[in-house]
C-alpha cells in the first residue's frame, strides 16, 4: 500500500500493520508524516506535528 506525501507528493510506502496516528518518514523529502486515516486501500498522510515543549517521557 502506498500514499502520497503531502509535502513532496512522492509515493510513500505504508507498512501492512500501519495504525492511524502512527508516525512514518517520507524517504524522498525526509519529512516526518502522520497517518491521518486508513480506509481500505486508501491511506491519508499529513505532516507530523512539530515537537512541543511538554513532549517527552
Amino acid at each position: 500500500m502506498t500514499a502520497n506525501c503531502p509535502i513532496c507528493d512522492a509515493q510513500v510506502s505504508i507498512p501492512a500493520d500501519a495504525k492511524v496516528s502512527e508516525v512514518i518518514r517520507c524517504v524522498d523529502c525526509n519529512n516526518q508524516l502522520v497517518i491521518e486515516k486508513i480506509d481500505g486501500d486508501m491511506t491519508v498522510l499529513q505532516e507530523a506535528p512539530q515537537v512541543e515543549e511538554d513532549w517527552g517521557e
Partner: protein
C-alpha cells in the same frame, strides 16, 4: 480483559505494545487523546488504561479523566505528577534519603548564586522542571554563564522556566544507566554511552545491556516506592562506588532497549497492566 492505550502519535514503542498485546490475545484499543471529548457523561468499559501520550499535558488530563470514572490508569496521576517534574522527583527522593545529586530551586539570580555555593559550587546543571530528551539543559561552569542563562530565561521563558531548578553536576565519564522498573522490580537496564555530557538516546547516545546488580535493584525499589510505583525508567549515575538517581520517567521510551537487553519491555508492560486490571476486578 480490555486495555485502552491512551496516546498521541504512535511511535515504535506503541507499535511494540500493540504487538505484545496481540501476542497475548489481549484486547487493546488505541485511543488518540487528541480526538477525544473528555466528558464524564461518556461511557467506557475498559478494565485499565495505559497512558502513553507523548504530550505530558494531554496525558495528565486523560489520566485524571479516567481516574474520575474509577478506571485505573498506568501510571496514575499521582505518579505522573511527581515524575514529570524534576524538582518534585528530587524532593521525593531526598525525603526518603535516596541518593540523588544535590539540588536546589530558586527564582532569581542572587538566590541562585547563594544556592549554588550551598550545593558545592560550579559546575551545575540547570534544567526545566518539565521537559525531556535532554532539551534545554545547561551545564553552567561559572557565574558569568549563570547570569546570562538566567537572564534569558527571565526575559524569554514562560512562567515555569522562571523557576530555576539547579542540580549539582556529576561527572559520569561518558555514560549513565537507565533501569526499567515495573512495580519496584528492575526488569532490565541499559548503559547509555555518549561523547556529550547529555546521554539521552534521543540525543544520539548508544545503548548497551547493563548487568543488574543487587545495589541497583535496591536503589530502584526504594525510588519506585518514593514516587508511587508503576512503570518507570530510572536514570542513574555511578558515584563513589554506588549509584545516584538523576531523574525518573513515567512514560518511558524503550524501543532502543529491547534488542540490547533481550527483554520484552513491551510484554512486561502489558503483563503488568493485566495484573493490575485483574486485581481491580477481584
Amino acid at each position: 480483559m480490555k486495555i485502552a492505550m491512551l496516546h498521541t502519535t504512535i511511535r515504535t514503542d506503541e507499535k511494540l505494545l500493540i504487538k505484545a498485546a496481540k501476542s497475548r490475545n489481549v484486547n487493546l484499543e488505541c485511543l488518540d487523546v487528541r480526538n477525544m471529548i473528555l466528558d464524564i457523561d461518556n461511557d467506557y468499559d475498559y478494565d485499565i488504561v495505559l497512558e502513553r501520550c507523548i504530550s505530558t499535558t494531554k496525558g495528565n488530563y486523560g489520566t485524571s479523566f479516567f481516574e474520575s470514572l474509577n478506571i485505573s490508569v498506568v501510571n496514575s496521576s499521582a505518579v505522573a505528577r511527581v515524575c514529570q517534574d524534576k524538582y518534585l522527583t528530587s524532593l521525593a527522593l531526598a525525603k526518603d534519603q535516596i541518593p540523588t545529586p544535590d539540588f536546589t530551586m530558586v527564582f532569581d539570580l542572587g538566590a541562585a548564586r547563594t544556592a549554588i555555593e550551598q550545593i558545592g559550587g560550579f559546575p551545575v546543571v540547570i534544567k526545566p522542571t518539565i521537559g525531556s530528551w535532554g532539551r534545554l539543559l545547561s551545564k553552567v561552569n561559572d557565574f558569568d554563564a549563570l547570569e546570562t542563562i538566567l537572564e534569558h530565561k527571565q526575559v524569554l521563558g514562560s512562567p515555569h522556566h522562571k523557576a530555576f531548578y539547579i542540580q549539582k553536576y556529576i561527572e559520569k565519564k561518558g555514560a549513565d544507566i537507565r533501569a526499567f522498573v515495573i512495580n519496584g522490580k528492575v526488569i532490565c537496564a541499559i548503559l547509555r554511552r555518549s561523547d556529550h555530557w547529555i546521554t539521552n538516546t534521543a540525543r544520539g547516545a548508544v545503548a548497551e545491556n547493563f548487568t543488574v546488580d543487587k545495589r541497583l535493584e535496591i536503589i530502584c525499589r526504594q525510588a519506585s516506592d518514593a514516587v508511587g510505583g508503576g512503570i518507570l525508567a530510572i536514570d542513574l549515575m555511578e558515584l563513589n562506588g554506588g549509584y545516584t538517581i538523576n531523574e525518573i520517567n513515567h512514560t518511558m521510551e524503550f524501543k532502543n532497549s529491547e534488542t540490547p537487553t533481550g527483554v520484552s519491555i513491551s510484554g512486561a508492560i502489558i503483563d503488568y497492566c493485566l495484573k493490575i486490571a485483574k486485581q481491580n476486578n477481584l
